[in-house]
C-alpha cells in the first residue's frame, strides 16, 4: 500500500436519472482510508448506481466523486488504476479457467506475462482456489465464483475496493467464506466500500454505514449509532397458552414504551423498552401475579433490522391485529422518533440473511 489519500472515497451530491426513475437523488458519502463503508438499502435503492459512478462505469447527471484522491470525472484513468471492482454478478469468464481469468485481468492492468502469472498464483492461494485453479470457472460453485471475482478486483493491489452485494445469492457457507475474505482484505489496510441488503453483513463488516433508500441517504453512522436511533432494548417472551395472550398483551402494553408485537402463531411477544432489566423484572412479576406462564424470555439490544425498518419506514407485512382492548390502552405511548416500531410482525425475520 503506497501513500494513501486520507479520504479514500468521497462523493458529493450525486444524482442520476434513468428515464422517469430517479436512481440517485443527491448522495454524499465519505470513507476515510483503511475503513469499511457499508452502503445498505433495499433493492432499487441506488446502491449499484452509486457503485457504477464511483468505478467510472456511469457518468452522474450531477455531483462529483473522488477515489484515492482522483476525480472520477476528470481523471477516470487514475481512478481505474487505484480501484478494484467486484460487481453484483460475478464477472468471471466462464470459458476461462480460474487462473486464466486472473492472468487476463493482470495483463490488462499492464503487468508483464510473468508478473501476471505470479500474481494469479498468489491470489488463487489466498482465496483457496488452488485446487480448482485450472478448471473452467463455469464449473465453479457460486461461492468460488464470488471469490474469483473478488480476487480479480485485487490483482493490481488497489488501495480502494468496491464490492457490490458481494454475498447476494450465496448459501451460508459461501457467505461466511466471502466475509472471511473481505476481513482479510481489510486487515491489509485496504479501503472497502460494500453494498448490501443484508443488515447483518453491514453490522459484521462495516465501520460506518450509510442507509440509502430511493436514491437518498436516510441515515449514516456506525452500526451502534444506527441501532441507538431505534432506541431501547427488545424484550421478547412467549406465552404458550393462547387464552392468556390477551391479558399478557395488556400487561406488556402497560410497560410504557411501545405497542407490543405479537406473533399469533407462536405466541411470541416483542416489546421495545428503554429500561432493559428493570422492565424485564417488572413485566415478569406482573405476569406471574396474573398467573400467565411464560417461556423463552429474552432481552436483547435492537438489531440493524429494527434500525432499517425504522429508518426506511418499510413494512415487511401488516402486523397481526391487536387483541381487543389493546388499542385503547391508556398506558401505551408510541415514540414519535420511531415511526415503524409499533407494528412489526414475525415476517421481519425475513430481512435477516
Amino acid at each position: 500500500m503506497t501513500a494513501q489519500h486520507p479520504v479514500a472515497i468521497r462523493a458529493e451530491g450525486l444524482t442520476k436519472r434513468f428515464g422517469d426513475k430517479q436512481a440517485l437523488a443527491g448522495v454524499d458519502l465519505e470513507a476515510p482510508a483503511g475503513t469499511v463503508l457499508g452502503v445498505l438499502g433495499p433493492n432499487g435503492a441506488g446502491k449499484t448506481t452509486t457503485v457504477r459512478v464511483l468505478s467510472t462505469l456511469l457518468r452522474p447527471d450531477a455531483g462529483r466523486a473522488w477515489v484515492a484522491g482522483h476525480d472520477v470525472l476528470d481523471d477516470p484513468e487514475s481512478v481505474r488504476a487505484n480501484l478494484g471492482l467486484s460487481g453484483q454478478y460475478a464477472a468471471v469468464d466462464e470459458k476461462l479457467t480460474g487462473r486464466e481469468n486472473l492472468y487476463l485481468v493482470g495483463r490488462l492492468y499492464g503487468m508483464s506475462r510473468r508478473a501476471a502469472r505470479r500474481r494469479a498464483g498468489e491470489l488463487l492461494g489466498r482465496f483457496r482456489l488452488e485446487e480448482a485453479a485450472d478448471r473452467l470457472s463455469g464449473t465453479f460453485s457460486g461461492g468460488m465464483r464470488r471469490r474469483l471475482d473478488l480476487a480479480g478486483a485485487l490483482v493490481a493491489r488497489p488501495s480502494v475496493v468496491v464490492l457490490d452485494e458481494p454475498t447476494t445469492g450465496l448459501d451460508p457457507r459461501g457467505r461466511s467464506d466471502t466475509w472471511a475474505s473481505i476481513r482479510e482484505l481489510v486487515d491489509t489496510g485496504t479501503t472497502v466500500l460494500l453494498t448490501t441488503q443484508y443488515l447483518e453483513e453491514a453490522d459484521q463488516l462495516a465501520d460506518s454505514i450509510l442507509v440509502i433508500d430511493s436514491g437518498r441517504v436516510i441515515a449514516r453512522g456506525s452500526a451502534a449509532e444506527l441501532k441507538a436511533r431505534v432506541g431501547g432494548e427488545r424484550l421478547a417472551l412467549t406465552v404458550p397458552d393462547p387464552s392468556a395472550r390477551s391479558r399478557a398483551y395488556e400487561v406488556l402494553g402497560s410497560l410504557g414504551a411501545h405497542v407490543p408485537d405479537l406473533d399469533r402463531r407462536t405466541g411470541r411477544f416483542t416489546v421495545t423498552t428503554d429500561h432493559g432489566a428493570e422492565t424485564l423484572e417488572y413485566a415478569l412479576g406482573r405476569l406471574r401475579r396474573e398467573q400467565i406462564a411464560v417461556r423463552e424470555v429474552e432481552l436483547a439490544p435492537p438489531t440493524l433490522d429494527d434500525a432499517f425498518l425504522a429508518l426506511t419506514g418499510q413494512e415487511t407485512a401488516p402486523a397481526a391485529p391487536a387483541p381487543a382492548g389493546a388499542d385503547t390502552d391508556p398506558h401505551t405511548l408510541t415514540l414519535a422518533a420511531v415511526p415503524a416500531a409499533g407494528t412489526r410482525s414475525d415476517e421481519e425475520t425475513a430481512w435477516r440473511p
Binding site: L57, L58, R59, L73, P76, E77, L85, K95, L104, L108
Partner: protein, 266 residues
C-alpha cells in the same frame, strides 16, 4: 487518448481471450464454418445447374467469399452482446485500459475467425471445381481484400452488438440485415435482370464490388449468361471495394466507440 501501442497490446490480449473462448465453444465455431459450406453446395448444385454449371461454380466463389465474411459480423455482434450481458465488458471498463481495445480485440479475433472461414470455404470451392487461375500475387491480393472487408463488416457487427439491449436482440438484429445486404448484390447472380432502383443498389453494394474484384484477381470470369454491366463500381470494382471497406471501417469504428462511451466516463 491512449497510445497506439497500448491499444494494440490490450486488444491482442482481449483477442487472445476471445479465441480461447471460441476454442472452448466448438459448437459455434462449427456453425460458423458450416454456413459457407452450405451456401457453396446449395448455390452450386441447386441453382448452379440452370445458371451455367461448372462455369457458374467458378464464378460463384467470389460471391461466397464476400458473403461468408459478411456473415461473420453476426458473431461480432453476438460476442460483444454476450460479454456485456455477462458483466465481462464492465470488468474491462473498470480496468485502466483503452476503451478502443475492448472492441478492437473482438474485431481482431473475428478477423482470425474469418481467416479460418476463408480456408474452409476455399477447400470446399476446390472440391466443387473452383480454381485459382491468376498469379500467386493476385490470389494473395484477393484474400487480403476479403479480409479487409471482413474487418469492416466486423465493425458493423460490433456497433449492432453494442446497441442491442440483450443477447437475443443482438442475435436476431446481427443476422437479419445480412440476407438483403448479401443477396441484393452481384454475389450470386447478374444484376442485369433486377428492376431499376434495385439494380443500382446492387451495383453500388460494396459486397458486389468485393465479389467482382476478387473474381478478377482469382481469374474467374463470369459465365456467358451472367452479364456484369458497365456501371462505375463494376468497372472500378477493386478501388471501390477498397474505398468502401476503409469508409465502413472508419464510420462504424466511430459509431461503435461513441456507443461504447455513451454512458461511460472517459
Amino acid at each position: 487518448m491512449a497510445s497506439v501501442n497500448r491499444v494494440a497490446r490490450d486488444a491482442s490480449i482481449i483477442a487472445w481471450r476471445n479465441l480461447l473462448n471460441l476454442r472452448r465453444t466448438p459448437g459455434s465455431v462449427i456453425a460458423a464454418l458450416v454456413q459457407p459450406v452450405m451456401f457453396v453446395l446449395l448455390l452450386a448444385y441447386v441453382f448452379g445447374g440452370s445458371l451455367g454449371g461448372g462455369d457458374y461454380r467458378t464464378f460463384l466463389m467470389g460471391g461466397i467469399f464476400a458473403q461468408a465474411v459478411t456473415f461473420n459480423a453476426a458473431f461480432t455482434a453476438l460476442g460483444l452482446a454476450h460479454d456485456m450481458d455477462k458483466g465481462i465488458v464492465d470488468r474491462f471498463r473498470s480496468l485502466p485500459m483503452p476503451r478502443m481495445a475492448v472492441i478492437l480485440g473482438r474485431t481482431l479475433s473475428d478477423l482470425i475467425m474469418s481467416t479460418v472461414t476463408l480456408v474452409v470455404t476455399s477447400l470446399c470451392g476446390l472440391l466443387v471445381g473452383w480454381r485459382i487461375a491468376g498469379t500467386l500475387g493476385e490470389a494473395l491480393a484477393a484474400y487480403l481484400l476479403i479480409l479487409l472487408f471482413a474487418f469492416a463488416m466486423s465493425w458493423v457487427g460490433a456497433t449492432i452488438g453494442l446497441m442491442a439491449r440483450s443477447v437475443e436482440v443482438a442475435q436476431s438484429a446481427g443476422l437479419i440485415w445480412l440476407f438483403p445486404v448479401t443477396f441484393v448484390s452481384s454475389s450470386f447472380v447478374s444484376t442485369a435482370t433486377m428492376p431499376g432502383p434495385l439494380r443500382t443498389v446492387a451495383e453500388w453494394n460494396p459486397i458486389s464490388a468485393v465479389a467482382t474484384a476478387v473474381r478478377r484477381l482469382f481469374g474467374n470470369p463470369p459465365p456467358g449468361g451472367i452479364p456484369v454491366g458497365d456501371a462505375w463500381p463494376v468497372v472500378h470494382a477493386l478501388p471501390y471495394a477498397l474505398l468502401s471497406a476503409a469508409a465502413i471501417t472508419a464510420a462504424f469504428m466511430l459509431l461503435a466507440l461513441r456507443r461504447f462511451r455513451a454512458v461511460t466516463v472517459g
